[in-house]
Amino acid sequence: MSIITYIVDNWGTLGPQAVTHIEIVAMSMAAAALIGLILGVFAARSERFSTLILGVTSTLLTVPSFALFGLLSIWVGLGNPPVIVGLVLYALLPVVRNTATGIRAVDPAVTDAARGMGMSPIQVLARVEMPLAAPAILGGLRQATVMVVAIATVGATVGADDLGQPILEALGRSSGTLAQVLAGVIPVALIGLTADLILAGVQRALSRGTAREAGG
C-alpha cells in the first residue's frame, strides 16, 4: 500500500504536524466550551439574548474559513493563533445552542423543587440544571469537535503547521500525489473519529437518569 508506506516514510514531518493539529483543536475547543457554556446559560435565561447570540454565531459559520483565518491573521499574525481564534468562533454555535436547549429542557418541576428547598440560583444551575443538561451539552461539543478537526486543515493557508500542510503542498504542486493528500486526510479522519468516540463515552457516562440525547 503506497499510502501507508508514504505515511510511514514521512512520519518525521507528519508526526509533529498531527501533534500540532491536536493541540490547535484542543485549545480552541477548551476555549469554545468555556465561552459557549457561559453564553448558553444566558441564552437559556433570556429569549432575546438567545435570538441575538444564535444569530451571531450562525452568521459566523457562513464565513468561508480561509477568509476568516486570513482576516484574523491581519489582527493576530500568521501561524496557529488566527486558526485557534477562528475555530473558537466556529465551534460556538453548537455549544451555545445545545447548552441553551439542554437547560431549557429541564423539567420546571425539578427546578421549582430545587429552589423550594433553598438552593441559590448558582446551586440550582450547578447541581441540577447543568448535570441534567450535560448529555445535550456533550452532544454540542461532539458536533463542534468533529467540525473543528476538519476545518483546522484550512489553517495551513495562514501558516499553521498542522495536518493541512501535506494537503496544501500536494494541491499546490503539479507533482503532488494522491498519497500526499491522503497522508493529511487519513490522520485527520482518525483524530476526528477518536475524539468523537471519547466524547461519546463521556456523554454516556453523564447520562445517568436523563434521557439519552442524540450526539451527532
Binding site: D107, V110, A113, G116, G118, M119, T210
Partner: protein, 312 residues
C-alpha cells in the same frame, strides 16, 4: 403558627389571591381546597416565598417572612410539589439528602438521616436507597418526595397535591400513611388539593377557596360538611355530604343505647369504627341494631336513631 394577614397576589390585572387572612395553628394539618385556578398553589408558595405577595404579610410564629433570608427560610420549610420533581440524575438517597447537604451536615449524620426517613415512609433503605427516580413507581416517588421534604426535620411542611397523579387505591393508602406519620411528627402541614374527599379526610381544618383566592369558609371538616357557609361551598362539597360526614365521626362518640331485654344483637362494630361503617352494619343487621365493642368490653348498642342523633 403561620399567619396570613390580608395577603394578595396580582398578576397584572388578574388577582390570583385576594386579601387572604388565615391562621394555621402549629401541629395541625390545614388543607387549602378549591377548584382549579382558585389560587391554592399561589397561596402555598407565598409561604416559602417562591411567589412574593403583592401586598399583605405572612408571618411564621409572629416573624414577618419578608424580612428573612429567603434560602434559609426555604430550608426550614419542607416542600412537596405538585409533580414531585425528584432530581432524575440523583439516587433516592441523594435526593433525600438534598436539604441536609445544603445545611452542611456531615456525611455520617446525613446517611443516618436518609436511612431513618426511608424507613419512615416505608421504603427499605437497602433496596431503595441506590435506585434512580426512573426506577420507582408513582406511589414510591411520592413517598420519596415526602421523605425529601422531611430531610432536615422542618417544623412546617408544604404539600401541593402530593397524591394528585396516583390511582385512588394507592392514594388512600398514602393519605393514611401521612396521617400515621403526623401522629408521630406533629408538623404544621399545609396541604393543597382540589379533591374535597381528600380534604376532609386529611385536614384538621379546611380552607375552601373560590376563584381569585377568596376564602369561602375555614372550618373543621365535620363543621364544613354540616354547615356550608355559602351556596358555593355546598356545591363544592357535592352530593351526600351528611352521609360522607359520618365517615369522620367515631362510634365511640355516639350516645349508645343500653342493651334491652331481648339481649345483645349478634352483629358487632368496633368503638373506633366510623359512624358510616356503623350505619352500614345497622342496615345489614336483621334487627336494625348492632352491638358496640371495645376489644372485649361491650359499650352498648347502636341503631339508626342513635346514628342520626350523633350526626347532628
Amino acid at each position: 403558627m403561620i399567619t396570613f394577614d390580608r395577603v394578595s397576589k396580582r398578576y397584572g390585572r388578574v388577582t390570583a389571591v385576594g386579601e387572604l387572612s388565615l391562621e394555621i395553628a402549629s401541629g395541625e394539618i390545614v388543607v387549602l381546597a378549591g377548584p382549579s385556578g382558585c389560587g391554592k398553589t399561589t397561596s402555598l408558595t407565598m409561604i416559602n416565598r417562591l411567589v412574593e405577595p403583592s401586598s399583605g404579610t405572612i408571618s411564621i410564629d409572629g416573624r414577618d417572612t419578608a424580612g428573612m433570608d429567603v434560602n434559609a427560610l426555604r430550608r426550614s420549610i419542607g416542600y412537596v410539589i405538585q409533580q414531585v420533581g425528584l432530581f432524575p440524575h440523583q439516587t433516592v438517597a441523594e435526593n433525600i439528602a438534598t436539604v441536609p447537604r445544603l445545611a452542611g451536615w456531615n456525611r455520617r449524620r446525613i446517611a443516618a438521616r436518609v436511612e431513618e426517613l426511608l424507613e419512615m415512609v416505608g421504603l427499605p433503605p437497602v433496596e431503595y436507597g441506590r435506585r434512580l427516580p426512573a426506577e420507582l413507581s408513582g406511589g414510591e416517588r411520592q413517598r420519596v418526595g415526602v421523605a425529601r421534604a422531611l430531610g432536615a426535620d422542618p417544623e412546617i411542611l408544604l404539600m401541593d397535591e402530593p397524591f394528585g397523579a396516583i390511582d385512588p387505591v394507592v392514594r388512600v393508602r398514602l393519605q393514611n400513611e401521612l396521617l400515621r406519620l403526623q401522629k408521630v411528627l406533629h408538623k404544621t402541614i399545609v396541604f393543597v388539593t382540589h379533591d374535597i374527599d381528600e380534604a376532609v379526610r386529611i385536614g384538621d381544618r379546611v380552607a375552601l377557596l373560590s376563584q381569585g383566592g377568596v376564602l369561602e369558609q375555614y372550618a373543621r371538616p365535620v363543621e364544613l360538611l354540616a354547615h356550608p357557609a355559602s351556596p358555593f361551598v355546598a356545591q363544592f362539597l357535592g352530593e351526600g355530604r351528611m352521609v360522607r360526614r359520618l365517615a369522620l365521626l367515631r362510634v365511640r362518640d355516639a350516645h349508645l343505647a343500653e342493651p334491652n331485654g331481648s339481649g345483645l344483637p349478634a352483629e358487632t362494630v368496633g368503638a373506633d369504627a366510623s359512624l358510616r361503617d356503623a350505619l352500614d352494619a345497622v342496615l345489614r343487621a336483621e334487627s336494625g341494631r348492632v352491638t358496640v365493642r371495645d376489644a372485649d368490653t361491650v359499650l352498648g348498642v347502636i341503631d339508626s336513631e342513635s346514628i342520626r342523633e350523633a350526626s347532628r
